[in-house]
Every structure is written in structure tokens, then in C-alpha cells.
Subunit: 184 residues, 2 copies
DNA sequence: TAAAACTGACGGAATATTCCGTCAGTTTTT
DNA sequence: AAAAACTGACGGAATATTCCGTCAGTTTTA
């Protein structure tokens, strides 16, 4: 409970002010929790960031894979999963900003990234199938997945920044672009 | 001279340790400059970041557009420019990391982004021409440009992270993917 | 009622920022 | 053209400020 409040407060403050400008005291205040309590749960500001990252990725994957069934054409599965990614971020702009800002941060170690990204390996199975069927350009499943993910990430950044309103047709066209980019 | 040393030192330290973990004293030491001198040129750590951003984007565009001529087919111009972007970042990994890390940072205001991105508007002319010729999907030139840029940015992050070695063929395939994604 | 969780005031370490003496280079005076 | 006066960039010691992390006291839980 308190732990989640702290993570939530940290997420909000880090995104809006930047890591360097946020103090533990501010986080405690935002979380409506004593400073000491923050230290009960986390050893440092950096650890808070790491735990936000892990928690966030876990919630993200829960959202994405909830209701996912490996039925229908490969293309429809592709669309389903990536659309979920897009919708998750559109509905959670703070989480998106956080995800983008810290993706390349030296605070997050390779191990943390590996753990946090575990769930996303399911995407690779999809891409592997596509490769078997010669649907995609000759790269590894992992690289194709990372490529699409990067594209979506970047696109969302400016889409949100420009407060572009994103309707179903926009998403459909965008997914088409993602598909076309890796199509054989 | 001293100013550049400070910016260079800041770039290196921010990328390797993260903004929050770097002190002005460290920057001064790395730049082989007195602490007071840092304050002669910059008002605060945040201002250093902003000036690095502006300087970096300016150097990047100088590199990209140097030798660029609006000759040849649209596709060859497309390839030329984006290949320059890719090569600039491959040759300047610190700058790339910095660029990626701070792209979504709250330290950089809209104004700074606008000023720093001014030079990149030339890309839009190219895309506008493509749109006139019905070569591209029906989006604005700006959006198409941002889409390609996002794609490249994201791709490079992973490529560098995985220490993937990137030869001419890889770049060519990648540019093909960029083209295919926006092609009508 | 004992244990666990929580709180926030506090001391001191870390850090940002200021301030001033120095001196290499430049201009003015004689 | 030599000497004197001036200038302001510079470094880093000194100061001001912030922030961390602890712990004694309080509240909640079981």
C-alpha cells in the first residue's frame, strides 16, 4: 500500500521534474507518507527508479497480454498486441514518459532490463512464426521486435507531444506502417 | 574554449553517470577548469544540459547537411540524408546517448526544442516533394519525418546496446525498412 | 500489550553558489 | 618605447544551502 504510493509518487515527480530535481522528502510528501517510511521500503532514490521500472513493465505486460489469444491470422495477432501497447501508453501517459526517459538511463542495469522485459519474449514467438512463413525481412525475431517497439515508442513520444488525437483509423494506419517496414 | 571544454565534460559525465549523480565540481575537474569558471559560463547544471543539447543538435545538422545537394532521385536523397544521420550517431555514441536520454526530459523546454530542430526542417521539404508525387502514405511531411526519425533513433539504441556491428548492407536494409514503412 | 509500522525533527555530509585575490594581456600615460 | 594603470577571465577557498538518512517517539496492527 505505502510502497505503491511511494512508487506512484516517484513516477509522477520524476517525470514532471526530472530525477535530479526530486528529493526523497518531496516523494514522501506526494505519497503522503513519512520520510522514514520511504527508507523502510527503498534504500535510495535510484532504487526507487529501478522498482518503478520493474513494476511499470509488469503492469504494462499484464495489460497487453490480458485477453490475448493465439488465434486468428498472424497479422491479426500482430495488430492486436501492438495496439494494446499503444493503448496502454495512451491511457498511461506518465508511465510512457517514464518508460521513455529511463530506457537509456545508466541507473537501469542490464539485469534489470532483462528481468523486466521477460514477458515481452512472447512477441518473439510471433515474429519467429512470421519468419518461418517468410513474411518478414531476414533479421532475427528479437531484432524485428525491437525494431517495431522502437518505432512505436518514438512515434508515441511526438504524437503525445503534439497532442495529436489518435483515433482508430490513425492507429490502423500506423500499424500498417509498422507491418510494411518489416514485411519481406 | 573553456566553454566547449565544460560542455564536452558535461556530456560525457551526464551520459555515463546520469544527471543526478554529477556535481558541478566533477564537471569542472573533468573539464580541467575552476568551479568558478563553470559559473562564469553557465548559471546552473540545467543550463549546461540545455546548452549541450543546442550545441549537439547544431553539430549534428552540420554533419548531416555538409555535402548534401538536392540532386538525384528523391529516394537517393532520402537515403543520403538518413544515412548521414545514422553515421553521425554511430561515430558519436556519447552524443547519441545524450540525445536519446534527454529527448523527453522536462529540462528541455518547447522553445529549446524548436530552436534546436530548426535545421531539420529541410527534411520536410523532401517529404513534401514525395507527397506531391504520391510516393508516401497520406500524412503530413512533418509526421512522416518524425516517424522515420523515431524509427532510426529507436533502432540505433538497440543496435548500439547489442553491440551489433553495422555494415553498409545493414544500413541499406534498414533504410529500405524506413522507406517501406512510409511508402504509399 | 507486544511487535510492527510509521513519522518527521534533527545533525551533519554533500553540494551549489558566491566572492575575492591573482595575473596575463591590453591600453594609456609619460 | 618603457612604465604605469587598467581589465576581466580564472581558480578555488569560503559560505550558504540543500538533502540525506537516522532514530526516538508515536500510532497501528495482531
Amino acid at each position: 500500500m505505502k510502497r505503491e504510493q511511494i512508487l506512484k509518487a516517484g513516477l509522477k515527480l520524476f517525470v514532471t521534474h526530472g530525477l535530479h530535481a526530486v528529493t526523497i522528502a518531496q516523494i514522501a510528501a506526494e505519497a503522503k507518507v513519512g520520510i522514514g517510511t520511504v527508507y523502510r521500503y527503498f534504500g535510495s532514490k535510484e532504487e526507487i527508479v529501478q522498482q518503478i521500472w520493474i513494476t511499470q513493465k509488469s503492469e504494462e505486460s499484464a495489460y497487453i497480454f490480458n485477453k490475448y489469444t493465439q488465434q486468428g491470422s498472424l497479422r491479426s495477432q500482430f495488430d492486436f498486441l501492438w495496439e494494446r501497447v499503444i493503448r496502454y501508453f495512451l491511457e498511461h501517459p506518465l508511465e510512457f514518459q517514464f518508460s521513455y526517459q529511463f530506457a537509456a538511463s545508466p541507473i537501469l542495469t542490464k539485469e534489470i532490463h532483462e528481468v523486466a522485459m521477460m514477458d515481452f519474449l512472447k512477441f518473439d514467438e510471433l515474429y519467429a512464426m512470421g519468419l518461418e512463413q517468410n513474411l518478414f525481412k531476414p533479421l532475427t525475431a528479437r531484432r524485428l521486435r525491437l525494431f517495431t517497439f522502437s518505432t512505436i515508442n518514438g512515434w508515441l513520444l511526438w504524437a503525445m507531444d503534439e497532442k495529436m488525437d489518435i483515433d482508430d483509423a490513425t492507429i490502423a494506419l500506423f500499424l500498417q506502417m509498422c507491418w510494411d517496414s518489416i514485411k519481406a
